[in-house]
Amino acid sequence: MIWNETKECMSRDEMSALQSARLVKTVNRVYHNVEFYRKKMQAVGIEPGDIKGIEDISKLPYTTKDDLRDNYPFGLFAVPQSEIVRIHASSGTTGKATVVGYTRKDIDIWSECVSRALSTAGVGKDDIIQVAYGYGLFTGGLGLHYGAENTGATVVPMSTGNTKKLITMMEDFGATAIACTPSYLLHIAETIKEMGVKDKIKLKAAVCGAEPWTEQMRIQIEEELGINAFDIYGLSEIMGPGVAMDCKFHKGLHVYEDHFLPEIITPDTLEPAAPGEVGELVFTTLTKEGLPLIRYRTKDLTSIDYSTCECGRTLARISRFKGRSDDMLIIRGVNVFPSQIEAALLEMGETSPHYMMIVDRENNLDTLEIQVEVEERFFTDEIRQLEQLSKKIGNAIHQALGISAKIKLVEPKTIERSMGKAKHVIDNRKLV
């Protein structure tokens, strides 16, 4: 099901022309309405007239999260506050929150994007969808909520907090779709199993995002619940969930390029990456009124494919995320993404995907301990076999990461389940 065939399937030439026209307008608007951008462009000797189309994009300076923090709260808004109808904010790990503002038109476009995403997941007006993202300053809850309403689906604003109630309502209402983080969905699947109500659930699709997850985890969710699961991508600075969306072919996430212009750059040099190469994803908003962003560095690592997808969409696809450059850990000089550990564990099929990495430093050497839950189905009565299990996990991790890790078997459900973004890393080295 394609929500907006005109936009989602237009030819690459038409798309470039549309993007160019919108980019020129956006650059003019920020130059005249936002002092920060005007100064930044003047500093590199650029005027709005120098930007004639998307081919000129690399002339423009980058914007970072620090710029948003430095201009806290409304400094980068391009319209008077009276035009702003909604505020969202993300609490940073350090210091001030990042505040974003939306005009009424921004909210409409956001809802349009989420409707496209839900249609891609097969969710339409006949569906009942539980939105189990947090409602509030976080963009997940309200973003999906407005989009699902715009689609015409019946929306149940569950938010997070009470998993058993969510499942009871899922059963009673006959909910057919859910939107939440993938790790929370896994927790929901566990609870459904415990409650023994799997055959009473009518769920058919899940739209999951807000944290990186692996292909293996998607497959596990699909198998455990008997549903189709899709990856939705977004970030509050750009809009929120619905910037890009996975389709049933799972060969990358379609970016809604008529609203968000993607680029891939090499983080070290800040130069555009070669076509198909993995690098940092950078977005320029093309229609945003409240908080337009020019070349915003997302810190997410991915690559772009511009070929037409089997689903018929011509929208560029970003590959499943390798992780955030922020999440990347350097352990004994090796780049490690938590998602690699998840993938290795799921591939083994002998442990739960719940894990915690504990990084520390002993005698100037990095140590990595990985805690893995001993699920009942993998538990044996003999120490020898448990020791073999941890050895096997150790080997799988070593193969995946190229470094060795100490495996610690822990009791089931002892690793914290998150309803928001899952926490997988405790890095004690920072304390030293």
Partner: protein
């Protein structure tokens, strides 16, 4: 023929063994025998209890991974050299004992529980050769 034993995975954290015992006690389950096998980081508690199915249920609810295993319980006269005799019977047939522990002893007889590499064979051996030494299988209902 076999006795059902419940094994519980516990981390070597303070109070975990106590948590297991409290959980069983609160549910009116008696522990008839218990043994702890441990490594540096985790342990296995093996137990013979009054109601093994209920124990599994309540421990699962309390968040423990458990497994029920068939073990063999035997009684033999409490005289010198009997255990050695039993081991000889097994080793002649190349049976390995994975683990064993005592269930109860009186001045006359001792009851032990064990798991071997082949429990069925072990039971046959005891039934055929144990008699002359006074070694006999005990049914679960008689524990």
């Amino acid at each position: 023929m076999y006795v059902k034993q419940i094994s519980i995975f516990v981390e070597n954290r303070k109070g975990r063994l106590e948590d297991v015992c409290t959980c069983l006690d609160e549910n009116g389950i008696n522990i008839k025998s218990i043994i702890l096998a441990d490594t540096n980081e985790y342990g296995l508690i093996r137990m013979i209890v009054s109601d093994v199915d209920k124990a599994k249920l309540v421990l699962k609810e309390a968040g423990f991974s458990t497994i029920i295993t068939n073990v063999v319980a035997i009684k033999f006269p409490h005289t010198k050299g009997m255990l050695k005799k039993l081991l000889e019977i097994f080793s002649e047939e190349e049976l390995n004992i994975e683990y064993m522990y005592g269930l109860s002893t009186t001045t006359e007889e001792a009851i032990i529980v064990f798991k071997t590499s082949d429990n069925e064979k072990a039971v046959n051996l005891i039934e055929n050769k144990g008699g002359e030494y006074g070694i006999a299988i005990i049914e679960e209902s008689n524990i």
